[in-house]
């Protein structure tokens, strides 16, 4: 079953000679042919280009030097540069545009033997909720989230083994939750962002999707992430439960999922406690928005100058600073973010990991919006690693994920903790049950 074909399994099978890279590609192509016409996850896919990469892997004489990701099909969000495929940013000006050079992360993946399979659909410049025509593999009437819409949907549907995304607000973790796949936003600065379309220097981060957390560990090795403590059992783990400042946006079913996760972890022997964020965090979401405005204004200036009226009014307004943001307001936003980052680092030092919602609830109906990123901006701005565990099902039968967060540059701790936590949490949440838990939560608050 190709939708069960993990990077770890591919690595094992190729090493043992039980499967070739071309076998993997053929199995993947079969899924693509069945599902892509309805899902529309890919912005570019040339089967022969991908197959040629698989052949090259199979032809390499020495299995030992093929790389840790030999033959693993990777789909790349279409705001990430690829030397052999166009990088279109879902915008007219760059339709078919070739960059000549790979993004640093794609370069590293190629050196590790990955098959760069396809480009996947993004919202325009990964900086808006508009424009992704991809459908959610669990319900074609719903969005897969965004802006990494295509990568998340493709991995969920088995059309790729690994998906590359980006996150500036909640563009990796929210789609992971909506599509029922694993998502990982690494620590800011731990993996090169060179070759990603720029929106916000402070927030833009590469992100990954997989169907198994072991694949993230493989990626952590490939990208040479720092060693960090890797917990071995849930018993005794100090787990904090965070209700982010925009908790009011969270749907009853997700409130239930978080509460139930806490109970399930407590039952498994973890030391679970609620986290109260210091008061300074009351301003964090406004600071995030202000920083995106300030940095987006610089990032899209050239598009405004080059495209004029052809550029969407959303970007033109950002560049024109129609909001009238002053330098003083921008400085205040950075100061808030800097102070919160220090406070968060101190706070996270008291836990092995904290958990929080990966999204506000299930994927909404319709493709006009990619859903509410309110649960994600905080963590993005804090530069910390976030791993989203799939596992809950909401009242509409859609997947929901829980985020595991640790201190900056301890991605391996987050990955190990998430694997352990995933073994204890999850389940279906009925409508009446979530209403009840929500009432409890409200009365407790």
């Amino acid at each position: 079953m190709p939708d069960r074909l993990t990077a770890t399994a591919i690595a094992r099978d190729l090493a043992a000679g039980r499967r070739s890279a071309e076998d993997v590609f053929d199995a993947t192509l079969d899924v693509i042919q069945r599902r892509e016409p309805a899902l529309r996850a890919f912005a570019f896919f040339d089967p022969e280009l991908a197959r040629a990469q698989a052949w090259a892997i199979d032809a390499s004489a020495d299995r030992g030097t093929r790389g840790a990701l030999a033959g693993v099909p990777v789909t790349v969000k279409d705001v990430i540069a690829t030397k052999d495929m166009p990088t279109g940013h879902n915008t007219a000006r760059y339709a078919g545009a070739m960059t000549g050079v790979d993004a640093a992360c794609v370069d590293t993946l190629r050196q590790s033997g990955a098959v760069i399979l396809s480009k996947s659909v993004t919202t325009e410049f990964a900086a808006t909720q508009r424009g992704a025509m991809t459908r959610n593999p669990h319900d074609a009437a719903r969005t897969p989230g965004g802006s990494s819409s295509g990568s998340a949907a493709a991995v969920a549907a088995g059309m790729a083994t690994i998906g590359l995304g980006t996150q500036t607000g909640g563009s990796t973790i929210r789609p992971a939750s909506f599509n029922g796949v694993w998502g990982w936003k690494p620590s800011w600065g731990a993996i090169s962002r060179e070759g990603l379309k720029l929106y916000s220097l402070t927030c833009d981060t590469i992100g990954f999707y997989a169907r198994d957390p072991a694949d993230f560990t493989l990626l952590a090795d490939v990208f040479d992430l720092d060693p960090a403590p890797e917990p071995a059992q849930v018993r005794g783990l100090r787990i904090g439960v965070v209700r982010p400042p925009l908790w009011g946006q969270v749907a009853p079913a997700m409130r239930t999922a978080l509460a139930r996760s806490a109970e399930q972890l407590r039952a498994a022997g973890a030391e679970v406690s609620d986290v109260t964020l210091p008061e300074i965090f009351d301003g964090i979401d406004a600071a995030h928005a202000a920083i995106l405005l300030r940095e987006g204004r610089a990032a899209f200036l050239n598009e405004d100058r080059a495209q004029g009226a052809a550029l969407h009014p959303e970007f033109r307004a950002m560049v024109a600073n129609t909001a009238g943001q002053t330098p003083q307001e921008a400085r205040a936003a950075y100061r808030c973010a800097d102070a919160c980052r220090a406070a968060m680092d101190e706070l996270l030092a008291g836990y092995d990991a904290v958990i929080a919602p990966s999204a506000c609830g299930e994927a909404p109906v319709g493709l006009d919006s990619t859903g509410d990123p309110s649960m994600n901006g905080l963590w993005t701005l804090m530069s910390v690693p976030v791993v989203s565990i799939p596992g809950f099902t909401g009242p509409a039968g859609m997947p929901m994920g829980i985020s595991v967060i640790t201190r900056r540059f301890t991605d391996r701790t987050a990955l190990a903790a998430a694997r352990l936590i995933a073994g204890e949490i999850g389940g279906a949440i009925a409508a009446e049950e979530s209403a009840e838990d929500s009432a409890e939560a409200s009365s407790a608050a």
Copy 2:
């Protein structure tokens, strides 16, 4: 005289029909032909490619819509992507490499009518002191500084009107000082860094060279920088004098230049006072080095994987983290930087501008090293705008510059203050005079 041909003068002459873009190009080409063989400032120059741009400007019917930089020859540091010229990073792997797409800043300059003239020499990946063969136009036996070696030397020699550089440590401001030209490192985040080779996300900033500060104001308009107070006279200006933590590296002549600047400004009616940096700044240069190590490790991973032993050991050691930097040490460095940024913002609020050395002294003899960046890392890490004023001459007859610094996102204040300050400071510093002032400075300390 083409070496007096400023962007402001070109704009005026073209608007008045007194000169064509091709005239400007021809005058510039004449200087290039005379000086480039000895200076070696350019990594790529195709006269016909540049001339075609000038023709296109001259052919455009409406002078009013040509853009603020119509016909202005701009040389681009060879770590900045250009769609019509190779971007080589002064490293074998990218010799002749085409990027297909312009860096955002180049895109914006083209939309403003600039002639993208040439690529100028950088040290390898703008991340080392090695490899720039460019000579200082004031003394061929000396370095022009780096890593923006070629852009600074080209503007100094009159081979281009505007030079594009980058700064991660002191790569824009130090060469400005060494070559006797104006240098400007804008506030971090105010101008898009998309399409610049990545070394340090936290520090990399675009930089500019010009022979007249009015050209920077023109660039500030083109890049739509925030409005900010622009002082109109030196009298009454509150000027702080900063001796950065690595003051021990500063040569006597530069100490004299800073002390004399303070006197000259005081004589002109400014309120000049010494700034004492809070104690937390004692760790700022170590934090800068730690952040460059952490971010460079991620930035050059793909080069290490792709190039193996062909990559210079300097980069391989960074990627391999042979220094053994821990996540904890990296977090501490960021926390120090964040805390200093807040403290600096508060401190700068008490002055209209502060002044500091642009380099440790005159350009050193030899091309093996691009000189000591100790005076620059502080300001780069603080994200603040820095404008380097030329004007002093050291005992060896080489130029020396003084930096003007203001709060983040008040680049227009820094530019206006620098123009005023430039009118008051400068002069030749004799060897015996600098020794004397140095003795005074030592006994005072």
